[in-house]
């Protein structure tokens, strides 16, 4: 007891050093990740100062004139307020749709994969569903635009079907109609990413002890009861972590696909914070306001992660921290 007290009084630095020396190989492995975060995640944070400045590239971040919160005021109540709030609303709505429609699909896929007993068939279908993930966003949206294009001389297959069903006037492109954007965006996202995203859930399912399934079978449980009482509880920690991360990214709609699919006519449903930020910051050269959008976005995302984590900790005892 006495010895352990002495151990406790050892300086903290020495303890850490001792631990590092002991497991130095692990720390070497960790080093690239730490460097990556330092260079790409922490160092650029200094650039957030731009949000409070009238940034001029020739003077740099420090040399540019300080403007206080003018950029934020301009954003929420100035000349850009309509576009900003529109982008804010769209970001939330698209994220919510993504959560509602996009989140369950990989889980369902993982459950289905787990039920395929033939190894070859399972591996083949898994690989087939992963493939779109490895295609670039430009290729995916290019294919999409081709499918939904509708012009005088030719129409894509989906546009033709919609025209046959009377849902689309001839000569009107689906990408020109605001009401088609969100479904299109979500569906393309599901097609591209659900297979790849199913890996983590499939791994979670594989981690569940077979004895639990056997026990349920002995008790007379059917397939749905297996999923309900064994698979889902077994996957729960993974599901919760993934949903927290998803909520944290609610305001981080990938701008690439939006940028490639949208046009000025459908900003009303398509413009999201990241594309608005790109237009106002890069194209219009209003870097300060662009950075303000970015900072605003990050703060809300931060609050959302903390909120989701707290709720999760309280109701399920599973949380990120």
């Amino acid at each position: 007891m006495k010895n352990s007290k002495i151990e406790m009084r050892k300086p903290h630095g020495k303890l850490i050093l001792k631990a590092i020396i002991k497991d130095w190989r692990l720390y070497v492995l960790l080093l690239p990740l730490v460097l990556w975060f330092a260079v790409w995640a922490y160092k650029p944070m200094g650039g957030l100062l731009i949000a409070f400045k009238r940034f001029d590239p020739q003077y740099g971040v420090w040399g540019s004139e300080f403007k206080g919160i003018d950029n934020f005021i301009n954003l929420v109540s100035g000349v850009n307020k309509t576009e900003f709030w529109q982008a804010f609303r769209n970001t939330f709505i698209i994220s919510a749709y993504n959560l509602i429609f996009g989140f369950p699909v990989p889980i369902i896929l993982a459950l289905l994969f787990a039920e395929i007993s033939n190894n070859f068939v399972r591996k083949f279908t898994q690989t087939a569903t992963y493939l779109p993930h490895f295609l670039s966003e430009v290729t995916i949206t290019g294919i999409t635009l081709m499918l939904v294009y509708s012009g005088v001389r030719s129409s894509g297959i989906i546009a033709s079907i919609f025209q046959q069903l009377g849902l689309l006037e001839p000569g009107v492109s689906m990408t020109q109609k605001a009401n088609y954007f969100r479904p299109l965006y979500i569906l393309v996202g599901i097609w591209k990413e659900s297979g790849y995203n199913s890996i983590v859930y499939y791994a979670a399912i594989m981690g569940i002890s077979p004895s639990l399934y056997e026990a349920l079978k002995v008790d007379g449980g059917n397939k749905f009861q297996e999923i309900r009482f064994v698979t889902f509880p077994g996957m729960a920690p993974t599901l919760i972590i993934m949903i927290i991360m998803r909520i944290g990214n609610m305001l981080t709609i990938g701008y690439e696909r939006v940028l490639l699919l949208y046009n000025a006519n459908i900003y009303v449903t398509a413009d999201v914070l990241s594309t608005f930020e790109q237009r106002i910051g890069i194209l219009s050269g209003n870097y300060g306001t662009g950075a303000a959008v970015s900072l605003f976005n990050s703060l809300i995302a931060f609050a959302l992660v903390i909120g989701a984590n707290t709720i999760s900790r309280n109701i399920s005892e599973t949380s990120l921290w």
Binding site: G151, V152, R153, S173, K177, A178, Y267, T289
Partner: protein, 709 residues
């Protein structure tokens, strides 16, 4: 093993040195012997001293070779100084130009001015992106920066001390030829002078005083519609929406009517107390047959032409916008007749690409002379009102009215419906004029485009230039095209941070060179070896121009499908948007006979175009038709005001305008597309985006710009 490794390394070293040798061999080095004598002749006299007077009198000191780095970005690697074609180009003297070398014209200049040019441009980068990036390093990475649509930034950074003050240099005796050019062309000087009264860049100046684009049509459609006897017109129903412009109080009777003069000595009396639009609209049955017969009867009753088609074709053309729309209706309503049954649909009006859709707005000129763009640039959206105040054209009620007329035309199917969608990258001109003999032909009638390319034999042998509609421009009935060639917002400037005094002086010499006769010819036409040294080309305007050799024409046909402009730019390094005065002579030399007929037609007519002086159109308010410089020099505060407090310079403004054209009359706007139902609603959109502040800021900038000159 070690021996093997040594061998491999030796081989690699040899390969590398061979490659480096290849990279370093410029056209100049290859052709050193051939050009040495010529270069000596070309070099301006060396100055003995370094005094200002000496510079002015003897030209720049070119004794020492000076290295100059260029960052000239145009967003297209084919258009930079560096040769980026996959296949090498063998010049007439045997010099071989390969990828990565300077293009021949640049090698020639490098040699002529005793420089060592290095192109440090990221080859595909856009000009604006390049300027933004380089501004972070104070433009220290090169000596000369340039590109497209960056004049405003060059002026801004010039006032910030980042680019060399060329006014001071001119005062000191440098750039004597450019200085002389500015003295002869004060409009150019005004356009490029920054708010502090100094000049920091040399602009690319298009063929000022020349017509930019004109109306080109399928000629045979007009004659077969209007002149043929017993024609088998179509009888499918046609729905009308357009109610006419010269109707009601605006009828062309009394003081509003009269005589028009398409050409000196030719007078056409327009007895137009009847409106063809009203006549067509009043028809009980509207189809190809009835609409066309109504038009023919109208022409017979109101004009003294030998053939009805003369109202539109040739030097006696005197049609107005209503008569043009009436003709377009006839075309739209007769697809089977006009195409021998090959097509169910034809498109009367189209633009070359969707990205040129703003050309449709130019029809505004013919609704009583409404100003929309003025110059060839779609960014030219200003005019000076009678009080000398700048006004934003897009926000005017007259422009809104034009959008509504165009919407009626769109509803009648007179405008190609693929013209609006910017995601559509198709060349509509090729599709609608160039597929007649293909398996799936498409047909279009009229476009507003450049003469040479629109009348190319390879495109369609039936195309022809016509006079513009006659319209009340500036209160007077006349022929006018609000589309003159302009001072471009392109050009180049010299970096302060990136240059030594020696480099600045040599860069000035490079800039000035293109305002000498030799440099001017070089940039417009190419190397001396590419030009016939004994004969000249006589243009349709009667002027002499350098004549291309057969080698140019043959090589151009082989590598660039006969597009001389592309060949000179992408293979030879000419016609780039650097600081120089462009000449039209090269364009004449690949124009078809029908193209020449078009030039002749316009040249001999009374048609006037927009100019910086406001000369040309008759009437009392030349200000309205005066071309405005493409960019205004804004101060730092003004830039801040524009970016923080207005949002007018965004693409959705143009989309908003085109929504009116696409959807207002038909009332079929898709969800999300805003369509202004009244001018008040339309104006409100601009006001919400800070129109008043936008105009005030530009008015201040305009006043400063005009007062400092």
């Amino acid at each position: 093993m070690r021996k093997k490794l040594t061998k491999v390394m030796l081989l690699a070293a040899m390969a590398m040195s061979a490659a480096l040798t290849g990279c370093g061999s410029s056209v100049v080095e290859q052709a050193e012997q051939q050009t040495a004598q010529q270069t000596a002749e070309n070099q301006p006299e060396e100055s003995a001293g370094s005094t200002e007077a000496a510079v002015a009198e003897t030209g720049p000191d070119l004794t020492e070779e000076v290295e100059l780095k260029f960052n000239f970005a145009v967003g297209n690697k084919s258009r930079t100084m560096t040769y980026n074609q996959e296949s090498p180009l063998t010049l007439p003297d045997g010099t071989v130009v390969t990828a990565g070398m300077l293009k021949p014209m640049w090698s020639y200049v490098e040699n002529a001015l005793n420089c060592d040019f290095t192109d440090v441009t990221v080859q595909d980068i856009k000009s604006a992106d390049m300027i933004q990036t380089e501004s972070t390093s104070n433009f220290s990475g090169a000596n000369i920066y340039g590109g497209e649509s960056i004049a405003e930034r060059l002026m801004y950074y010039g006032t910030e001390g980042k680019f060399v003050n060329l006014s001071e240099r001119m005062e000191a005796g440098y750039l004597p030829n450019f200085k002389a050019y500015l003295e002869e062309n004060p409009d150019v000087k005004t356009a490029i002078t920054a708010y502090d009264g100094n000049i920091y860049h040399v602009p690319y100046i298009a063929e000022i005083g020349q017509i930019g684009r004109s109306f080109v049509i399928r000629e045979s459609w007009v004659t077969s519609l209007l002149d043929a006897e017993n024609a088998g017109y179509d009888t499918s129903d046609f729905t009308v929406y357009y109610q006419g412009f010269y109707v009601g109080d605006n009828k062309r009777t009394g003081e509003n009517g009269g005589t028009v003069t398409p050409k000196e000595g030719v007078e056409i009396v327009k007895k137009t107390d009847a409106s063809i639009i009203e006549l067509q609209n009043a028809l009980e049955v509207k189809n190809g047959e009835t609409l066309t017969n109504a038009l023919i009867q109208y022409i017979d009753e109101n004009y003294d032409y030998d053939k009805p088609s003369e109202l539109y074709l040739g030097e006696k053309a005197a049609y107005d916008i209503d008569e043009l729309i009436a003709l377009m209706r006839c075309i739209k309503a007769n697809p089977h007749y006009l195409t021998d049954g090959k097509a169910d649909v034809v498109w009367p009006m189209f633009t070359r690409q969707s990205s040129y859709r703003e050309e449709l707005l130019r029809l505004g000129t013919y609704f009583d002379g409404v100003k929309v763009h003025g110059s060839d640039s779609y960014q030219a959206r200003w005019y000076i009102d009678a009080d000398g105040v700048v006004q934003y054209t897009y926000a005017q009620e007259s422009v809104y009215d034009v959008l509504c007329y165009l919407s009626d035309m769109e509803a009648e199917g007179l405008i190609y419906s693929d013209c609006y969608d910017l995601s559509n990258k198709t060349n509509h001109r090729s599709a609608l004029w160039g597929t007649d003999e293909g398996e799936a032909p498409s047909y279009g009638f009229i476009t507003y485009d450049f003469i040479a390319s629109s009348t190319a034999d390879s495109l369609n042998p039936d195309t022809a230039v016509i006079l513009p509609p006659v319209a009340k421009v500036n209160g007077v009935w006349q022929y006018y095209m609000d589309n003159g060639r302009a001072i471009k917002p392109d050009g180049w400037a010299i970096s302060v941070a990136g240059s030594t005094e020696e480099q600045i002086q040599r860069a000035c010499a490079v800039f000035d060179y293109f305002f000498t006769e030799e440099g001017f010819t070089l940039q417009n036409y190419g190397l001396p070896m590419n030009l016939d040294q004994e004969n000249k080309y006589i243009g349709p305007d009667g002027n002499e121009y350098p004549l291309f050799t057969d080698w140019v024409n043959e090589t151009c046909n082989n590598v660039a499908n006969g597009d001389l402009s592309t060949f000179l730019r992408d293979w030879m390094g000419c016609l780039m948007p650097i600081g120089y005065q462009k000449e039209i002579g090269f364009e004449y030399q690949y124009t078809s006979e029908r193209g020449f007929a078009g030039w002749e037609l316009l040249k001999n007519s009374t048609t006037t175009i927009a100019t910086y002086a406001g000369e040309g159109p008759e009437g009392d308010n030349p200000n309205y038709y005066k071309m405005i410089p493409p960019v205004f020099s804004l101060t730092s505060r003004q830039k801040e005001t524009i970016s923080d407090s207005t949002s007018i310079e965004t693409d959705d403004v143009v989309e908003y305008m085109f929504n009116i054209i696409r959807y207002k009359t038909k009332g079929n706007a898709p969800q999300g597309a805003e369509v202004a139902q009244s001018y008040e609603e339309y104006l409100q959109m601009f006001e919400n985006r800070g129109l008043e502040l936008y105009e005030t800021t530009y008015q201040t900038a305009y006043e400063v710009m005009t007062s400092v000159n």
